[in-house]
């Protein structure tokens, strides 16, 4: 297996995520353009123009190129996956120079910028195993403005799903224009404190327009989406009909005493790209 070639592929994966939005996001923004008026419409027009310019001039759509975040699923029959962590890290360093990416890793105590977008635990990689003999890597570079609106709450189980809905809607009202709406809202329910947040982020991997396979959960997603869009916060908080593009929920069982809810907010730049590596080392990005 040619590891150098795979590393080049990971650089291309990051490039694709930073420069080109997935089709489902663009389609959803175009729909928003149709229904918005006045100042809200101007914002969506700017966003669509920006998407176009970024793609044509081959540059990151937003100056905040984010924290480099990856979700990796390794097929159980994939040979020797041990190189992946080092390769993803090296690809981030290369991408920072080549694309380029804004240096976004700051040492919290000394404020020193590492300048290469890596550091302890960064890139942030979530590992999982699955069936098959391929590796799937999702790149979701995550911007700071929307991430700052993320929140965890440990509800009392007695507050139930109504408590979940109230918490999310209240938080999104309070976030207002800060996370660059129209946003995508990822919600993790259950697990523990850490897992709820992780599931909230993982929920962002789902394309816009897809619902949870469980009908009851899908209905809750759709209810929360409607409630947030009723607020009138609108594009960039300047007023309008589209405050969220979609709401995605992922769940895990909860402890009898706990009802953790993790809210992860993603800006309109719902950056996502996927790479599949085959057992012979060849790869493709879609």
């Amino acid at each position: 297996m040619d590891i150098k070639k795979i590393e080049k592929g990971i650089v291309e994966l990051i490039r694709k995520a930073e420069i080109e939005l997935p089709e489902d996001v663009v389609t959803s923004l175009k729909k928003a353009y149709e229904i918005e008026e006045g100042i809200g419409k101007i914002q969506i027009k700017n966003i669509l123009e920006n998407i176009d310019i970024a793609r044509k001039t081959n540059r990151p759509m937003c100056q905040d190129t984010g924290v480099q975040t990856f979700f990796v699923k390794i097929g159980k029959d994939f040979k020797d996956p041990g190189f992946l962590k080092d390769s993803i890290t090296r690809a981030v360093i290369t991408a920072t120079k080549q694309i380029p990416l804004r240096p976004n890793t700051i040492e919290p105590f000394t404020h020193v910028n590492y300048k290469d977008n890596v550091g302890d635990f960064i890139p942030a990689i979530t590992w999982d195993f699955t069936d098959g003999d391929t590796v799937e890597i999702f790149a979701i570079p995550k911007g700071g403005g929307s991430e700052n609106m993320s929140k965890l709450v440990m509800l009392k189980p007695g507050e139930g799903i109504k408590g979940v809905k109230d918490f999310i809607v209240k938080e999104m009202i309070s976030a207002g224009g800060n996370p660059c709406p129209p946003t995508v809202v990822g919600i993790g329910i259950g697990g523990g404190a850490d897992l709820a947040m992780k599931l909230g982020k993982q929920a962002l991997l789902r394309p816009i327009g897809t619902s949870h396979p469980n009908k009851k959960i899908a209905d809750i997603e759709s209810f929360i989406k409607k409630e947030i869009n009723k607020t009138g916060i609108g594009p960039m908080g300047l007023g309008g009909k589209t405050t969220v593009l979609d709401v995605h929920i992922e769940k895990a069982p909860r402890h009898p005493a706990s009802l953790p809810v993790g809210l992860v907010v993603q800006c309109w730049a719902d950056r996502r790209a996927r790479m599949i590596i085959s057992n012979d080392g060849s790869w493709r990005i879609d």
Binding site: I53, R59, P100, P103, I173, G176, N178, G232, G237
Partner: protein, 184 residues
Amino acid sequence: MEYHLEIPIKKDDVKKLRVGDIVYISGNVFTARDSAHQLLLEENGKIPFDPSKMALYHCGPLMKKVNGKWEVVSAGPTTSSRMELFEDSFIEKFNINMIIGKGDMGKNTQKALQKYICVYASYTGGAGALAANNIKEVKDVYYLEELGMAEAVWIFKMEKFGPLIIAMDSHGNSIFKKTTKFDV
């Protein structure tokens, strides 16, 4: 109303601007985020540029150096509410009359906008590639070594930068009062 303004903007022109107006600006802006606000406020001596002659842009740009010269890759606004901590003192000390950013700002900024005749204009967050198109020249950079690329003070010459939406004016009005319950 739609306005095309040259920077520095005259106080009388600032007073004309009302929430919801659309503005395009030409002239110099300086970028400052959290660290640059802190640093400039703590600076007792002379600073190397005159902020009162420029608009303040809440922005941490993505830059690259080509043949020894800085070029803008992507330069949209950053979340302005983080600067609420310093903005009233900053407006007072540096005689700022236009701030460009994104998202809501709080009560202290609103009061300072009225007291010192200044406006807060919103540009589309995340539209970094589009904004870069309106930056005609990178004139200078200060504090790059201390603060790094995103936090440094960059001086950009803008041409017809907009559409900016007047989100808070110098008469105590805010576009966010209806849309947001956020209060910093």
